[in-house]
Symmetry: C2
Subunit: 404 residues, 2 copies
């Protein structure tokens, strides 16, 4: 179906030739893009919000956009609401032009719009980058009503994505890719459990699993929202890093697909004694273990990664020169190993709980290897390992190493 209105005729479209706002300029660089922002003492005092620390977040968007475009063998139509000054979009247009047809970005702040427009013109993205000054939810529904559909949405708000996700479904192509970022980790990791439950509908847990649980609660919120709109999701990649969580997932239309995703909504139970973690479906039995069980959820109990996408991502990294490629590679490796290595333990917390001194990771890893099991460092949290050894056996090894 053809679009009902030209994109530039939709309310809030920011026209070209806008003036640079009344601030001193600062030249920045990220990836292949050189751009201008207002000068400021630090990022939180600035008249616009741009956080250079989030380059890993933007790298991931670029990596998976490229891979998705390669998979379906065509250029993608991309929507990034709450885009700030649009550096992610500009990097995409510069670094992977072969993957991008056009990008719509929006922000409700007019100074931010002026800065993005200035850079858009400097970088000559006049035909394939559209900037909007509009409240996110209204813009999204307006695009949908005018038959605009997107292959990739990057939802990266300040704080929680929970007030926005429900509004995204009407503007997506079937089989679209979505990424959602959450920066409210104190809620998701269980420091403020009621804030988490209110925003995500899942009760968190503040233990050694809290960062993985954060991802699962975020996915749980997304899956239930998709379910209400008869869509199912498949996670591609997940990361909890630098005080935010980011997930990538594919969508598929239909009640059957939605039900299949909903079947992966349940609870996690962590044994207070042996630290084993169990996942149960919503109508499942409560597991029994050697200690008291700490419950979290409802949350996503399925896989957090797609092995094929992670392997493809690792391969692409070799040629892409992304600023954060090393850290991304580690997380992709974790994704490749997810199915084999389901055990997830934070060694420092576990040793503290056991009241024993902590061994070096070298000693621990060779001991686990000796026993015939696999182990890698997890990127989800500092001091965390991902392994196929059981909680009970791991505790035994830790105690033995501590006694040496």
């Amino acid at each position: 179906m053809s679009n009902m209105r030209k994109i530039s005729d939709i309310n809030g479209y920011v026209e070209g030739n806008s003036k640079w706002p009344d601030f001193d300029k600062k030249i920045c660089e990220e990836g292949n893009v050189v751009f201008t922002i207002p000068k400021s003492e630090n990022i939180y005092d600035a008249p616009i919000f741009f956080n250079p620390m989030m380059n890993l977040n933007r790298d991931l968007s670029i990596l998976f956009t490229k891979n998705y475009s390669e998979k379906i063998n065509r250029k993608l139509r991309i929507f990034e609401p709450l885009a700030g000054i649009g550096i992610r979009a500009m990097r995409m247009l510069k670094e992977i032009p072969e993957s991008v047809e056009e990008i719509v970005i929006s922000d409700y702040n007019t100074i931010t719009n002026s800065v993005s427009n200035y850079n858009k013109e400097k970088l000559n993205f006049t035909n394939n980058l559209h900037i909007f000054n509009r409240e996110t939810r209204s813009l999204t529904l307006d695009l949908a009503e005018n038959k605009y559909k997107y292959d990739y949405i990057d939802l990266d708000p300040f704080g929680s994505p929970s007030p926005y996700i429900d509004f995204m479904w009407p503007v997506l192509n079937s089989k679209a890719l979505i990424s959602v970022t959450a920066t409210d980790m104190t809620a998701l990791c269980g420091v403020y459990p009621m804030a988490c439950f209110r925003k995500y509908g899942g009760y968190p847990i503040n233990n050694q699993h809290n960062h993985e649980t954060a991802i699962r609660i975020l996915l749980g919120m997304v899956v239930r929202s998709a379910g209400r709109h008869e869509k199912g999701i498949t996670p591609i990649f997940s990361i909890s890093v630098d005080h935010y969580a980011k997930i990538f997932f594919k969508i598929e239309n239909g009640r059957g697909r939605a039900n299949k995703s909903m079947e992966q909504i349940g609870f996690s139970f962590t044994c207070d004694n042996c630290h084993e973690i169990y996942y149960e479906k919503i109508d499942g039995e409560i597991p029994k273990c050697c200690g008291e069980l700490q419950k979290a959820g409802p949350l996503w109990i399925g896989k957090l990664f797609d092995k094929d996408w992670c392997e493809r991502g690792l391969k692409s990294l070799e040629t892409m020169k992304l600023p954060s490629e090393k850290r991304i590679a580690k997380q992709l490796l974790e994704g490749v190993n997810e199915e084999d290595l389901k055990g997830f333990f934070q060694i420092s917390k576990l040793c503290k709980k056991l009241k024993i001194s902590q061994p070096s990771f070298t000693d621990l890893f060779s001991k686990i290897d000796e026993e015939g099991f696999k182990v890698i460092r997890s990127q989800f949290k500092d001091q965390v390992i991902r392994t196929n050894i059981s909680g009970r056996k791991l505790v035994k090894i830790l105690k033995e190493l501590a006694e040496k």
Copy 2:
């Protein structure tokens, strides 16, 4: 803040002087309104959808609109998306004109729009009834963006309200009243549990409590949606009748209010043996009883009625002459008694389970009364009582009566 655009300038506004569509006419009457619809063999073959059986649903909307207007001592601005031919709105304008400032109705079907427009002009509602031909979610966001806010929303879609509720929050005044109707009772009552879980995010149960559980799951969905938008809710009235469930609730803004509502999200557990029902918070303990426990949820574990609103409703009924006043009065009475009578048992199912013959309600009620407890018939489901006697004591009484 003043509205940005005149209501008639918003996309999809149906202008006056529309022609009656090419169908034979049939004159109908409900409450104080005489209106015209296309003639048809039965309601499901008709070119427009109007179900005379739903008059109780419309009566309730009229009753609580009147009471809310009286409580806040001003006329209300009302929005009814998915309104069909708008009989609810027209009855409000005719039967309680002192309570209504104006009503916006919408439907995506042009024949439906023509019929409502014809009746609007016949009934002379040209200034206070606005008809839209527009997709519900887009219209709602457009109204919100143009600063239109409503005191009462009646969301009564064909099927489940779950794809729509998230879109309603931006268009509501603070402390607004909302009613939500669901007609997909096979899902909510647990015949198709995964359909229920997908649409409402709560796992249902198909036992003697299923109609009350349906209401609680519907409320659970609403509370979580409100929570994502930092609003809390207070249920006013709930009913499960004639193959639909309808709830009325007040909203309040703020994270604190939202958290308070979220604290009432948990699980219900029904004992397979003594039929006692337990409600536990999301982070609560699992109860212990004499039999196996059947779990449902996450769902609303709080009150389903507001006693003051129910008492006021009963009083208003005396002067209003609503077509379904008798059935409404029974449910209002149940609301008045809710706090005292928490036990909820379907006598026929319970006797079948106990493999005993069922006593007459007269015998049962006098026996319960003799034992010093209170009991009324519940409107939630046929053969159901609401009482303050325990499940175990009730089973004892039923067995004694069966042995006589």
